[in-house]
């Protein structure tokens, strides 16, 4: 009965999210400046859909994921989940809300406690959210979740080190699924895996989405994974979103020079095309001292006199947006 309303309200809306880390110096630990790791990010995820947040190291994409869950306290902004601003919740209500949003990390070896058995790793969240009447019922549920991620429930009592990398990532996914979330934040969840294993995990994530109606915020640097998996893409550079578009539109007709450079830099595996071009110049500047004006202007092949002087806003381009003066609509 609420399904109609739910489909019109986005599952997650992030507005003007800022995460600034203070830079402290001296014996009095005086704050002398801020690293603007995330500086005014907005994004929207609908139920059952996948949004990819892409960018290179240091762009702030991981910080966005953590700030949504308040694993890092945002400096400013709104994180509205099913209409409720998570940043205004007191600790007990925040804990309850977190049941709906779970995280899958890149390296399952460091995110799984090596001294805990699989059963306890997966059941831990259930216990803290009061899911399952008792231990034996929770064990039943753990076995069911393991089956769902295509792990043998016989392995319930094993330790993480007894599994391969791909299986450990399945355990990480099972742990997230155990509390029946609506949104999974996958932070480079397949980046450490070999291609053949990555395919297994991507297929699993696809299956889970269609079976359970999950939404994904997929944080990654891997553009081929993005194209395969996401409905829409936000590209981040130095703490800001520089372009947002539906996946096909972004890949076939990128607007922002950074997106264009990023796509041109992806190696092709078509032997008829050797296609990479190093269009983006130099290195990423430090987020503690972002360039003036457009933050990308120091590396941009299309830079002109206005770029260092003025910071471009996100220009709306009919269902997509780009933070570049070349896309200015009047």
């Amino acid at each position: 009965m609420t399904s109609e309303r739910e489909s019109s309200v986005p599952l997650l809306e992030v507005e003007d999210l800022r995460v600034w880390f203070p830079i402290k110096r001296g014996i009095l630990r005086k704050t002398i400046g801020y690293v603007r790791a995330v500086d005014g990010v907005a994004l929207t995820i609908s139920a059952g859909k996948t949004l990819a947040l892409v960018g290179e190291s240091g762009c702030g994409k991981t910080t966005v994921g953590r700030a949504i869950l308040r694993l890092l306290e945002p400096t400013e902004g709104v994180v509205r989940f099913q209409g409720q601003n998570l940043l205004e919740l007191d600790p007990p209500r925040l804990r309850a809300a977190r049941r709906n949003i779970q995280m899958v990390f890149q390296d399952p070896m460091t995110s799984l406690d090596p001294r805990m058995r699989v059963r306890d790793i997966v059941a831990e969240g259930m216990e803290s959210f009061g899911i399952g009447a008792n231990d034996s019922e929770r064990t039943e549920r753990v076995a069911a979740v393991l089956r769902r991620v295509k792990l043998d429930p016989e392995h319930l009592w094993r330790f993480p080190h007894e599994f391969s990398g791909g299986q450990r990532q399945r355990i990480g996914i099972a742990r997230a699924l155990a509390v029946e979330p609506k949104l999974l934040i996958c932070d480079e969840a397949v980046s450490a895996l070999d291609v053949s294993i990555q395919a297994q995990i991507l297929n699993l994530l696809g299956d889970l989405q269609s079976e359970l109606g999950l939404s994904y915020l997929f944080i990654t640097h891997d553009l081929s994974v993005v194209r395969y998996l996401a409905e829409s893409v936000s590209v981040m550079y130095l703490g800001q979103i520089v372009e947002h578009a539906a996946t096909e539109a972004l890949f076939s007709d990128p607007q922002h020079p950074y997106t264009q450079g990023l796509l041109a830099a992806v190696p092709s595996i078509d032997p008829a095309h050797r296609s990479i071009r190093a269009g983006v110049l130099g290195d990423v500047p430090s987020p503690a001292h972002p360039p003036s004006g457009c933050r990308f202007h120091t590396r941009c092949p299309k830079v002109f006199d206005r770029c260092p002087r003025e910071a471009p806003p996100l220009f709306e381009l009919g269902g997509r947006s780009s933070r570049c003066f070349l896309n200015e609509t009047t």
């Binding site: 791909g166 297929n203 194209r227």
Partner: protein
């Protein structure tokens, strides 16, 4: 004539069940000036193969058998000082993580100067001038200032450029590049791949490229050898291996890549995982995961099936296809 010829190379490590080969009878060759990619997933033995060529296999690993012929000499039979002269002089190596090879307490310029003086009797001033030239050549911005920088003051991409400058200082005939761009962001990776392409053209060095990334392979390699579980599965030109793969493993790997599959379609899964070296089948190492495995595969090591003068594959099923078809 081949610049480097590797024959039946076998390198083992000890395990609870005695010594176990992790590189098991690998043969390949590199001609002067060409780029050969040794490509495979983790545990394929690609890096151990490269370290075996350099005689840098970490203990307790050991090269048991085989030949590594370079410039008419078998490197495996050289004395330690002779081998040291080969390393850095005729063959240089760059690694995935440049930080592990740069000394954190020495200025990067001095480290390259030292490498030059180790192999050539030149003055410090001359070596420093040459280092500056190399820094310019590998595209380090503000090269004069960067000579006096410490490694931690440089970004990952710049450190990799310093490593490449150091590797090129002796104008080696062969450069072994072990995952040279894996730790780098994609825009920086593109810069380094372009640099390696230019340098190969300008210096004429051959490159043995070790990587798991088929995209990087396609962008840089002339020929490709695909490794799986310590053995070569297939080798051929870039066009042959990526355009018309023959081994079931190569085929499976390419179909598992999200870049080649449309959204919503399932990716090909290669079932299971790479077995540990102690669990490798006696015959074809891929047979436990192969969709085309049949009777001989678990017990008999497949021999080379030649598909073209440049393309060969180690697979019983492909050999049977060829025998069965009248040609």
């Amino acid at each position: 004539m081949a610049l480097l010829e590797v024959r039946e190379l076998t390198t083992s490590f000890p395990s609870e069940r005695g010594r176990v080969p992790v590189v098991d009878g690998v043969s390949f060759e590199i001609r002067a000036g060409e780029v050969l990619a040794l490509v495979g997933e983790s545990g394929s033995g690609k890096s151990v193969s490269a370290f075996s060529v350099m005689r840098l296999v970490p203990k307790p690993g050991h090269v048991d058998r085989g030949k590594v012929v370079f410039g008419g000499r078998d490197l495996l039979t050289l004395s330690v000082p002779e081998m040291r002269a080969v390393r850095g002089h005729s063959i240089s190596m760059i690694f995935q993580e440049p930080m592990t090879c740069l000394n954190p307490v020495l200025r990067v310029g001095d480290q390259v100067v030292e490498a030059i003086q180790l192999h050539e009797p030149v003055s410090r001033a001359a070596a420093r001038a040459r280092t500056l030239e190399l820094f310019k050549k590998v595209g380090i911005p503000d090269p004069q200032e960067r000579l006096d920088a410490y490694p931690h003051q440089l970004s990952g991409g710049l450190k990799q450029r310093v490593m490449i400058a150091m590797a090129l200082s002796a104008q080696p005939k062969l450069l072994i590049a072990d995952e040279p761009t894996t730790a780098l962001d994609v825009t920086i990776q593109a810069q380094i791949l372009e640099l390696l392409r230019e340098l190969q053209r300008d210096f004429g060095s051959a490159i043995l490229l070790i990587t798991h990334d088929l995209g990087v392979v396609n962008e840089l390699a002339d020929r490709i050898a695909v490794m799986y579980a310590g053995a070569i599965a297939e080798q051929g030109t870039r066009e042959e291996v990526l355009g018309a793969p023959s081994h079931p493993y190569t085929q499976g790997l390419l179909r598992a890549m999200p870049a080649l599959v449309k959204r919503g379609e399932r990716l090909n899964e290669i079932p299971g995982v790479v077995p540990r070296p102690s669990d490798w089948p006696k015959g074809c190492h891929f047979c436990t995961r192969c969709p085309r495995a049949f009777e001989p595969c678990p017990d008999i090591t497949p021999s080379e099936t030649v598909l073209s003068p440049t393309h060969s594959v180690y697979c019983h099923a492909v050999a049977r296809d060829l025998k069965g078809s009248p040609s």
